[in-house]
């Protein structure tokens, strides 16, 4: 089982500490220990993107990251996308475009799309599709997801601004 390790990290702008076993994934810590079930588990082996989070600005599958690797990082999860001022433009556009059916893939898509817009605020449809190819959605056929991301890019020239409260 191994001794538990003490980890100190930043999640959605807040300092967070937790104890974990070396074998535990970051996803498991979110979901089973921190009560943050917004980050979803679809496969637990890096192939669906439902568990996407942004770590130090880089999009990651949290099921493939050991929790111990979170030490001294800055992590953004789905719970950090909206601010007290309102939804992130991506969230708003997902609602307006009906981009979710069952919604289990939605947190992963939103986090992945945010990571895209953070570095490429005006992507083409091709770029959106290429970037989101690591996220599986079985319900929508992707049409309305891609439209929402393109539309959010139009309304959000700088998506970072709406996140200041959480970063």
């Amino acid at each position: 089982m191994g001794k538990k390790l003490y980890i100190n990290t930043t999640i959605n702008g807040e300092a967070v500490e937790f104890l974990c076993e070396p074998r535990q994934s970051l996803l498991e810590i979110f979901r089973d220990h921190l009560g943050m079930t917004g980050t979803k588990e679809g496969c637990n082996d890096g192939n669906c993107g439902a568990c996407n989070v942004i770590i130090d600005g880089v999009l990651m599958n949290s099921c493939l990251i050991f929790a111990v690797e979170a030490q001294d990082r800055k992590i953004v999860t789905i719970e950090g996308l909206a601010s007290p001022q309102g939804l992130h433009p991506l969230q708003q556009k997902f609602l307006e475009h009906a981009s979710l059916q069952c919604g289990i893939c939605t947190p992963g898509f939103l986090v992945a799309a945010k990571a895209l817009l953070d570095q490429n605020p005006d992507p083409t449809e091709h770029e959106v599709r290429h970037w989101l190819a690591g996220n599986l959605c079985r319900c929508t056929g992707y049409d309305k997801i891609v439209r929402a991301v393109l539309d959010a890019a139009n309304v959000a020239p700088n998506t970072e601004t709406s996140l200041q409260s959480s970063n």
Partner: protein
């Protein structure tokens, strides 16, 4: 890739205020912020984590199971096997919407008794204080297997000398038990007219065999169940399911306890597509909870989801169609076998209903066989049974059109099913929208736009699926602020809270936002059948309509009380309560609601319905443009249009969503999804190796909603959930033929198969 606007789709024929609009779905906010609680998210104090030990062998006798080492591991709280089932009711059957199942079969699919029948068949389950300990414990369970010969091909399984899976399975022929021991569980036959005469009069007859591999529903949320079985005998199950009442019935039957002892709480569900109708984990979690005295949660691993749950049957389908010189169909014959997996119950009946459903065939014969073999028990998948048989029929229709030199849409229009046509299973169609989808296809800009390159081709195909009616319930309560709480029984997989609430709102002239819809558990809402069969917006929407009618009547009575007038003098128009003679007396719904506190008991309305099964149904026509890479055989979808009759589109965005989702699932089935078996074992049990389409694999999916109102439904709704998956593989096969001149008759149409066919054609031409 063109991003064509779908904004003109569906306006409720202009008749309605709420229906046909596109409000934000009520559960949307929770789902975009990560707050919505799905089955996998359920956490209870003191909860244990369960996991399941599964067979590595496709067919073996269990000589013994030794769990002592696992039980001794620190942190393990319970281990269960089939011995923990009560034997009560072993000779009984459970009757579900999908069919009648033997309790022994259902129990042994949850935990194998004497034999394992497929790789992935569960053998034992463990509950421990965390998932890692549970997984370690599984490795400590010792199972002594006697390996048996297995069978994995449907034709081989049908042979007399095939290894038999079940000692007690005998073939049922036309509903009669033949007494013959066999892997053929049943034979279904439908027949109309005089087949010989029909083929005798035909000028052209085409016959071919088709094959499709098993595919998985591929929902992104794995199966899960959390159970708490208290010492007073009351069991609560929290799970992602397409039907809480179905889980209640299955779990109670499998555990041998009354349904009244089981409460099922449907959590938010991360996809189902038919695969979350059967129960896999709830009885295991319940037995573990009983033994440990703690709540137990099990989430199935993704590999186990592939190996142990729900694929579609692999199929063999032979279809023969005869037509006269003008292209009029005179006769059709189909013979097919579906691989049900380890237990009987594949959708043979549905396949037989669908195979010739899109056209008028005066003479037809269909024979279908349900065959067991050493693979996981198959489950429903969006329009179960339809896609493989429609691939066969539509491909042959295209060949007949080509042979006669008739336009592919014209030949379909000439024969299209319409009101009064008798389907091969005997149903006579009421008003349906088959022709209308074809006419829309003909008029569509896609159909008239020329292709622009070599190795490109266009294919068109038509498909069908029924609307199951079945029981649904809804209950509404009027709040003082004029909003209404609406509790309904259908799990919301794709926006159905909105489509149900909108029908309720329409009756009362309220905005969609004034309704707070929620999904009830088995203790808080009336009996409601599964979310499936394209029935929720149709039937549960109808129940909400009835509930709204009762609310309306009661609110009119309250208005009369408020005005101290006789009830006959109150009218309700355009959302306003009016006094028949005194024009000053007028109250909006909201104003009247504000007075309710002084007007006696609360206003509660409920509706329960049970519409006929299979009335009407929904038709789809799709067009696919493809490009084939002649060097690799890879097929790229350049453009895709789906046209569907929605009867009346309640929330057009979610109707389009169903059409687009079904289209892309159909594209995956056509081109790259399959269960790949070797030595009785699935070789590709992950999302990496079992590849569902990503957004990089598909273009935008254009949609056209056709509205031919369902004559039986108060708003004319047709369920739209399924028919869109039926025609895409056929359309793509036809498009490939039009691109490179080869007919593919086996799914998936992988690059190696397309390339082999192209090379064969090349060799033949030299």
């Amino acid at each position: 890739m063109a991003a064509t606007s779908n904004s003109e789709n569906g306006n409720g024929n202009g008749k309605y205020k709420v229906i046909g609009t596109r409000p934000i779905r009520h559960d949307g906010l929770d789902k975009v912020t990560g707050r919505a609680v799905y089955g996998i998210d359920q956490n209870l104090p003191g909860m244990l984590y369960g996991q399941t030990l599964r067979s590595p062998h496709p067919h073996a006798r269990i000589r013994s199971i030794d769990t002592t080492k696992a039980e001794a591991l620190e942190g393990v709280r319970a281990v269960v096997t089939a011995d923990d089932f009560s034997p009560a009711g072993d000779d009984e059957v459970i009757s579900l919407v999908e069919g009648v199942f033997r309790l022994t079969h259902m129990r042994s699919n949850i935990l194998a008794k004497d034999k394992v029948l497929y790789q992935g068949h569960s053998v034992a389950a463990v509950a421990a204080t965390n998932i890692h300990i549970a997984e370690e414990a599984l490795r400590l369970i010792e199972v002594d297997y006697e390996i048996l010969p297995y069978v994995e091909d449907v034709h081989e399984a049908m042979r007399e000398d095939a290894p038999l899976l079940h000692d007690d399975l005998t073939t049922e022929d036309f509903g009669e038990d033949t007494g013959t021991k066999s892997n053929i569980a049943s034979h279904t036959q439908f027949k109309i007219g005089d087949l010989e005469k029909g083929f005798g009069e035909s000028d052209v007859i085409i016959e071919h065999e088709f094959k499709t591999a098993s595919v998985h529903q591929g929902y992104i949320e794995s199966h899960n169940a959390t159970a708490e079985w208290k010492t007073d005998g009351q069991l609560t199950v929290w799970t992602s399911t397409q039907g809480a009442f179905g889980v209640q019935k299955q779990t109670a039957g499998i555990l041998g306890i009354p349904v009244s002892k089981v409460k099922v709480v449907p959590m938010e569900i991360g996809g189902g597509f038919g695969g979350k109708i059967p129960v896999y984990l709830a009885p295991q979690a319940a037995l573990l909870s009983k033994k440990s005295g703690r709540p137990v949660k099990i989430i199935m691993t993704r590999a186990d989801v592939f190996k142990s749950t729900g694929p579609t049957p692999a199929t063999y389908v032979k279809v023969k169609i005869g037509a006269d010189k003008t292209g009029k169909f005179l006769a059709a014959e189909a013979n097919f076998a579906f691989a049900a997996g380890a237990f009987p119950g594949s959708p043979v009946w549905a396949g037989a209903m669908c195979v010739f459903s899109c056209y008028s065939f005066p003479n037809a014969l269909v024979d279908g066989y349900d065959v067991v073999l050493n693979k996981p028990r198959s489950a429903a998948y969006r329009a179960p049974g339809a896609t493989p048989v429609i691939l066969a029929t539509e491909t042959i229709v295209d060949e007949i059109a080509e042979k006669l030199g008739v336009d592919p849409i014209e030949i379909r229009l000439l024969n299209a099913a319409q009101e009064g046509v008798r389907r091969v299973d005997g149903v006579v169609y009421p008003v349906i929208g088959c022709r209308e989808t074809l006419e829309q296809a003909k008029a569509h800009e896609h159909y008239r736009t020329p292709l622009n390159g070599p190795n490109q081709g266009r294919g068109i195909a038509t498909g069908f699926w029924v609307n199951a009616g079945l029981k649904s319930s809804a209950t509404a309560h009027v709040n003082e602020d004029g909003t209404v709480n609406l509790v309904e029984g259908s799990t919301d997989i794709g926006g159905s809270r909105a489509s149900i609430a909108m029908q309720f709102a329409e009756v009362l002239g309220l905005p969609a936002e004034a309704i707070n819809p929620s999904v009830g558990d088995t203790s808080s809402v009336g009996y409601t059948e599964l979310t499936g069969g394209s029935r929720v917006t149709f039937a549960t929407g109808w129940a909400a309509y009835e509930a709204a009618q009762e609310v309306k009547r009661k609110m009119m009575a309250k208005a009369a009380m408020y005005w101290e007038a006789p009830e006959e003098e109150v009218r309700f128009e355009d959302g306003i309560f009016l006094h028949a003679t005194d024009a000053d007396k007028k109250l909006s719904f909201k104003e009247l609601a504000g007075h309710l506190k002084d007007l006696g008991g609360a206003v509660v309305g409920s509706g329960t319905v049970d519409p006929d099964y299979g009335s009407g149904g929904s038709f789809t026509t799709c067009m696919a443009d493809v490009e084939v890479d002649p060097d690799t055989g890879k097929v790229t979808i350049l453009r895709f249009t789906m046209i569907q009759d929605a009867g009346t589109a309640i929330h057009p965005s979610y109707v389009e969503g169903q059409m687009q989702g079904g289209s892309v699932q159909g594209i995956g089935w056509a081109l790259n999804e399959e269960y790949f078996y070797s030595e009785g074992r699935m070789q590709n049990a992950s999302f990496l190796d079992y590849r569902i389409p990503t957004c990089f694999d598909v273009p935008m999916v254009d949609t056209v909603i056709v509205e031919v109102p369902h004559p039986g439904h108060p708003f004319g709704v047709r369920g739209v959930g399924e028919a869109s998956i039926a025609p895409p593989p056929a359309a793509i096969a036809i498009a490939i033929y039009n691109a490179v001149g080869v007919r593919l008759r086996e799914l998936p149409m992988r690059p190696d198969r397309v390339l082999a066919a192209c090379l064969e054609k090349l060799a033949a031409s030299h």
